[in-house]
Structure formats: structure tokens, C-alpha cells
């Protein structure tokens, strides 16, 4: 029986097909086929022998996320259900929304809706771990919305300021 697993890591999405053959696994990934022996401590450590070459890897799972530690590098893979893949897309709002990069306290909001800002202007002052963090404008533009107040505790990823889309339509295609 072959079992398929699909993961996305950065820009690469790949499906791994694993079939047990005797005391080994035959693993197919794209055009490549590998012969794999694997031992685990049943927590997160894997001792892999892939085509005769030995590697120790560590894997931890959290929801769909798979964190893989391999030779000093750490990779984040997202396990993908092929039937839901079509729904996933890049929902980034480009450089128009400024979000908190970590949970923090809003010390001061220096702009209001409608203000014109220059690139590099400080928009919001945040504090986390007693450090001041300055949220600056990534480009010139007009403030479309301010979604935070001084004294408020904000979470990572929370949108704090939105800049109006540039009126120049040259790069307007989505």
C-alpha cells in the first residue's frame, strides 16, 4: 500500500509517496525514488538512511505545520490536503497594511486617518519587552485607516494602519 503526503515549504510543494518493501521504505518524490530505512525515538528524532547515506532529522508537528530540523537548518512545512489546495491563495495586502509583528503595547499613534505620510515616517510606537518598536511607513501615501489606540495591547498579525492604494494605476494588475 502506498501512502501519499503533500507538503508546502516556501515556494515548493511536493507529494511524497511512501511504500513499504520488506524492511525498507521506497519513497518517491517527483522523478526521484529513494530507498529509506528509518528509526525513531517515537518523539521527534528520526535516524534516516537514504540510499546508504545516514542523516539524523528532527520533526515536530503542530496542527498542519511540520517543523523539520536537518543538519543545522530548520524548515517549516505545511501539510496540505490536496482537496483543499485550490482554496489556498496568497492573501497578502502588499505594503499597504502595517501589522504588529509581535504581541505588544501601543505606546503612541502618531498619525490619523487622511494624513499624508512620507516613506520612513514613524506611524505607531509599540513596546514589547521594554523595547520601543517603531512602525514606519514602507512608502509615501495617505493613511486610509488607523486600527489601534495608545494603551491597547495588540496581537501578532493585527493590522494597525492601512495606507491608501497608490493612485498610480501602472502596477494595478492583481
Amino acid at each position: 500500500m502506498t501512502r501519499d503526503f503533500t507538503y508546502t515549504a516556501g515556494d515548493r510543494t511536493a507529494t511524497v509517496a511512501v511504500e513499504k518493501q520488506g524492511d525498507a521504505y521506497v519513497v518517491t518524490l517527483g522523478a526521484h525514488t529513494y530507498r529509506v530505512h528509518a528509526l525513531t525515538d517515537a518523539r521527534s528524532r528520526l535516524d534516516l538512511n537514504v540510499d546508504g547515506r545516514q542523516t539524523r532529522a528532527y520533526v515536530a508537528a503542530d496542527g498542519d505545520a511540520r517543523y523539520v530540523g536537518l543538519d543545522g537548518a530548520t524548515w517549516t512545512l505545511v501539510k496540505v490536503d490536496p482537496r483543499r489546495r485550490a482554496q489556498r491563495g496568497r492573501g497578502g495586502a502588499g505594503d499597504s497594511t502595517l501589522a504588529a509583528v509581535m504581541p505588544s503595547l501601543v505606546l503612541d499613534v502618531l498619525v490619523s486617518q487622511g494624513d499624508a505620510v512620507e516613506k520612513g515616517d514613524v506611524l505607531v510606537l509599540l513596546e514589547a519587552m521594554k523595547m520601543e518598536i517603531r512602525l514606519t511607513a514602507p512608502r509615501a501615501g495617505r493613511v486610509e485607516a488607523v486600527n489601534c489606540r495608545a494603551g491597547e495591547v495588540v496581537q501578532r498579525g493585527q493590522m494597525l494602519v492601512t495606507l491608501a492604494q497608490p493612485t498610480d494605476p501602472v502596477n494595478g494588475q492583481e
Binding site: 501512502r3 501519499d4 503526503f5 507538503y7 515549504a9 516556501g10 515548493r12 511512501v18 520488506g22 524492511d23 525498507a24 521504505y25 519513497v27 518524490l29 529513494y34 529509506v36 530505512h37 528509518a38 528509526l39 525513531t40 517515537a42 518523539r43 521527534s44 528524532r45 528520526l46 534516516l48 537514504v50 542523516t55 532529522a57 528532527y58 520533526v59 515536530a60 508537528a61 503542530d62 496542527g63 498542519d64 505545520a65 511540520r66 517543523y67 523539520v68 530540523g69 536537518l70 543545522g72 530548520t74 512545512l77 501539510k79 490536503d81 482537496r83 483543499r84 509583528v101 509581535m102 504581541p103 505588544s104 505606546l107 514589547a128 519587552m129 521594554k130 523595547m131 520601543e132 501578532r156
Partner: protein, 520 residues
Amino acid sequence: MTNKPLSPTDGMPRPLFQKILIANRGEIAVRIIRACQEMGIATVAVYSEADAEALHTALADEAVCIGPPPPGASYLRGDVILDAARRLGCDAVHPGYGFLAENADFADAVAAAGITFIGPSPQAMRIMGGKTSARAAMQQAGVPVVPGYQASEADADLHLAAAEIGYPVLVKAVAGGGGKGMRTVFEPKNLAAALASARREALNAFGDARIYLEKRIEQPRHIEFQILADAHGNIVHLFERECSVQRRHQKIIEETPSPFLTRELRARMGEAAVAAASAVNYVNAGTIEFLVDRAGNFYFLEMNTRLQVEHPITELATGVDLVKAQIRVAAGEPLPYTQAALSQRGHAMECRIYAEDPSNDFLPAIGKVLRAAAPTGPGVRVDAGIAGGDEITRHYDPMIAKLIVLGEDRNDAISRMDWALRHYVILGDLMTNIPFLRDIMAHPAFAAGSITTNFVDDYFGDWQPSTEEAPDLTFIAAAMYEILNDAPAVTAQGAGGASGENDDVYSPWAQRTGFRMGGD
């Protein structure tokens, strides 16, 4: 009357203290608990509600909750901590570093309760804790200080003084440390804004908005000397620590010996460090920080009246256990060595492993460590305060661990550090600075030892993590993990079940036991 059974400790020397309360958290609390255990001293940990399951909480003999997560409500509550020490019959308190370690009022209160504070006298802490009083004391003792201005807080006076010192000038917090409340000002027109911003940050971080000016030394090195003094008038230094590799004015890599110091300069700086400690009748472990310019002129920067984060490199290079030495000195024992008996051997280096994003201004990263595996082996030491399942929260410093190596020489230490970094596995929804540290180890300027406090800005200002595509092996490892952990393949699972949100983050491995072979 019953016969007293023979105890295994009969005939052994009485411990110096019966029970020490450790007024700290994280790796330093773990480090101190370990020293106490080796000395046969019982330990009490204190913890905030966020640290109920933390490593230091679990390792001590007793543990007391002292309040909610914010430090001001727990680890800075000297009254609550002292009450716990009294209640549990502690005869000494070790403050570690940070939090209450340099709080003279806390040291006073501990002493008033008849409990030994493992550290210097409150008086020495007060002199060295105020940057202005420390500068005055050092000037009096003949220890060179950086030119500066501290006579007035008025903006008009500060503008005049800055012009006299010459730009660029540094605005620094009187009560400061770790770069908090510090600003570099290149032009007079920016001084007013820098003063306001530095005062605000200083008030916030230290509860004291006072600031002062200092000349900025160009391309300086940060080199500090460890000193150790007993209550009988003996003071030694344990050589230097080169701490020039910093980001956000905080050290990330420290080493000893410094590649910059000659034997002659080391001796002169060591003497100055001893003179500095002597000037305030210092007792216990402390550190004199110097700025050193290209010509080898050195200036007193500040004294840290406590154990330093980077103390392990001194321990590895000198063989002295600084925490045990602190405890012995606090118990009134004389230092067992003279300056002449101390020497440096090999080359020790420390990397601070932080949960942070080096490509985004080193912003702290928050998240849970799902799994951590630290390197072990010859010449490798790991001082860690977290284990798998622990969270890095916004309440505390995001340092995960200190990785320390001892090599035969500097090159040997660098290759050993790179090996150790490569074998330090930290998995979870947080970014660490390990790839960044590895790139520093591989950098020719670092190998050449040409490091100043501008090193990170000069060579790594626009550092980005590798954008290399994940190799096949990562996908294979993930798939084999699913297979060996019996996770149902996606083809065998109902579509509705996989929500992508899983609160039970421990489940993939924590509840599984036994060793499974792939060929079963």
C-alpha cells in the same frame, strides 16, 4: 531513646547555607540551582503564573508562586519574594542577573530580615548603579572614564554640553543598561527629539527618566573584566571577556581571551578593574566593563554588580566556578586563590541563542518550543532555561539558551561552536538566531578577530536567511515522521476533520512511548 540512624552526610562538612532562595527564572535560575545541589544546599524557586511549568520551577526542591506574569507583579516583587524566603526558612537569597540583582533596596531588605544577600553591599550597588556616581568614583580612583556631561538635566545645558563634547554624542539613561534609553545623536538638530525619546524609554524601563551625555568612541571594542572579592580585603580579576559582537546594544557572542589584548594591555586593564572594585569596597563577583578604542585606550563604561550572563566563558577558561565562589564569599570564606595562581587556558566562546528575527531588526519572536535537542560532547556546555513545550512569551527576555564551547585556541573554538550550532535543534513556531550565528562563525572578519561593537551593523546589517529551496530530505523526513507515528495519511482521513488548528500541541510526540523500528 532511639539511636540516631547513620546519615550518609555524617562526617561531611556542614553546607555553607541550609537553603537558598533563587530570586530569578530561566537559565540562570537553573544554573544556580545546579551549583546549590552540588554544594548540598537546598533550593527554593520562585515563579510567576507564566512559569508554573518552567524548568527552574521543576528543578528546585521547593517552588513558590509569586504572582502574575508581568515582572512588576512577580519577579520584581521584592516584598513577596522576601516573604517567601522567610516563610520557608531560607538563610540566603541569590538574585541571579536582571530583575532584583542590582536593586540595593532589596539587598537592604534581605539583610534586615537576617538573610544573606549573595552579592555586594547595598552601598557598593548604589554607587555603581548610578552611572553618574560610578563615573565620579572611578575618576577619583584614577580609572579612565569616557568624556561626558552629567551636571544638568536641562535641555539648554545639554545642548551646550553636546557641542562641547563634540558630535556624535550618546544620550544614555542614568539608571540604564542593555542599551535601553540610549540614543546616538549625529547632529544638533536631532538632540531634542533623542532626549525626549530616551527619557520616555528610560522612565518606562527603569522608572527613572534621568539621562546624561557621553562622547561616542568610534569603532570601540567592548571588553570587560570579571572580578571576585572576598570580605577579607582580597580582590582578584579573572581576566577579560571580549563582548564586542552586539545587536541592539546587547551582546550576542562573547569570548575569552580577547583577540585584541596584548599581555601588557591585559595586565593594565586587570589592574584598573581591581582598582575600580576596590574603590567601592566591593565584595562578591562583579564585572567592570570597558570601551577600548583602536589605539588601545580604555575607558570605564560601567560596573555590573552581579553575575553576568556570559560568566560561563570565564568559568571554562579559568576553571573557577563563579556561582560557587559567590556562595562561598557570601558565607564569609576567603578566596582560595591569589592573582598569581589564576591563568587562562584555551579559548572559550559563548553564543546566546535567542528567539528573534535577525532579518527584521532582531525583533523578538514569540512562540512555543515544541522540541529542543541541545548538542553535547567534548568542550560543549549548554545553559538552557527551557525544555520542549515551553513558551517564549512577551513578558520576559527571549533568550532560549547559552551555548558555550572551550577550544584549544580561537580557531578550534570557532569550528567547535559551528558544530554545536549545527547540532542545536529548536523546533516550533518561532524563529531563532542560529542561522545568523552560524553565518558569523563563517565570516572572514570574525575569523580575523576584527570585531568592534559595529561588527553586526558593518557586516550583517542587511542579513537575510538563506532562501534555498527545501531539499528532498526535508519532505522525506516529514513523511517518515507521519509513517512512524502512525498518523493517518491524508487519503485515509475525512475531509472535514483537518481544521489546521490543533490546541493539543504536545500530542504528536509527548504521549507516545517506546521505540519503534521502521522495519517492524
